[in-house]
Point group: C2
DNA sequence: GTCTATACTGTGATAGAC
DNA sequence: GTCTATCACAGTATAGAC
């Protein structure tokens, strides 16, 4: 009698093709904009005919959905990687968290548009793809709670300030530094508001 | 010899048709989303065939452009109408200005998306249509300057806070009140930051 | 001048051959 | 699983009736 293979080579191959398609989709989105993504452009990039994509994704929105889930999952990993190295001093830590999210978003507007705005007309993420974004939000809440910022409203205002900076940068000064230059000041405003103690360690010589 | 008519009835009629088309375009945008606006849907609503729209607008983007200019011009008038009635006390005045913009935006997401976000792929407003938006921005700057908030960075942070509230409301809690409820608190945070004096007059009995 | 009729290109999506 | 063929409908543009 034949044994059961421990690896499903077909499923692995299938998953690899899906990942290849998603990678191509991100390339197209970054190059031409999230909303300009077409099945033809993705198919061309992976060397397929457009209808062949339907063997791997049920629809164009299913591709968006997978991108949404993958985008948040990747950012979640990124957070787990850089958070341990951040300074412990509350204001410096807030600045670093905000700066990271801001830079990450501005460096990849397609990522921010798909994951944090509503630029794709009929697209609503499925519960499965939405899960990693909730995990990121919980992570942020935990970070703020560790600094003594516990109430939900204060967390929401944090989202407003950081998100507002990114939105303003992308909408009003794409490619510039106008709102990036305001980040530290905005974080100070927030830190004062939630009553964080003034910085204890000096940073300038 | 014939006299020259003081009214150009043809031009008036033409302008009326343009206004009718724009009104229909706004209806469609509000109903189905800014990006879902199609020439067919607009033509259907005004009782025309799609190609007839080209007699009044050079392209679909020209319609977006006219909507952009009209949207800001209308809001500018709205500002001139309500600003005189606002309280003079700085913090109350800031709250009122923020609340007005927030409510106006949330009540008409299509307006906010077209005028303050970048939801329409290839659309860039022309200089002419952009002018009224600059006028609104100058008006806001003047309002803040009258309260002693003069430096440009502080104005930018005002835009970040108010815009961030609207963005978060539309993206994270469409139809809800989650960020609307944080508006007064966010404005207080900003007022504290720019050093506005505490409110002098009591409002509660 | 204004509108209708029509054709052209490109898009998402489906059916069926292999 | 991938392909060819095809559909319905979007935006664009031209020709011609009135």
């Amino acid at each position: 009698m034949l044994g059961t293979p421990t690896r499903d080579r077909i499923a692995e191959r299938r998953e690899a093709v899906r990942a290849e398609i998603l990678s191509a989709a991100w390339d197209v989105a970054r190059e031409h904009g999230v909303a300009q993504l077409t099945l033809r452009s993705v198919a061309d990039r992976v060397g397929m005919r457009p209808p062949s994509l339907y063997s791997h994704f049920d629809s164009k929105n299913a591709i968006y959905d997978a991108m949404f889930g993958q985008g948040w999952a990747t950012y979640l990993e990124e957070c787990h990687r850089y958070l341990p190295g951040l300074p412990a001093e509350p204001r410096a830590r807030l600045r670093a968290i905000a700066r990271h999210f801001f830079d990450y978003s501005v460096a990849d507007p397609a990522w921010y548009q798909l994951l944090n705005q509503r630029v794709v007309p009929g697209f609503e993420p499925t519960a499965e793809s939405y899960a990693p974004s909730v995990a990121v939000m919980e992570l942020f809440k935990g970070q703020l709670a560790a600094l003594g910022i516990a109430d939900d409203a204060a967390v929401d205002i944090w989202v407003v300030v950081v998100g507002g900076l990114v939105d303003a940068q992308l909408a009003n000064d794409p490619g510039g530094e106008r709102y990036a230059a305001l980040l530290d000041r905005a974080v100070e405003m927030y830190a004062d508001h939630v009553g964080l103690p003034p910085a204890t360690t000096r940073e300038d010589p």
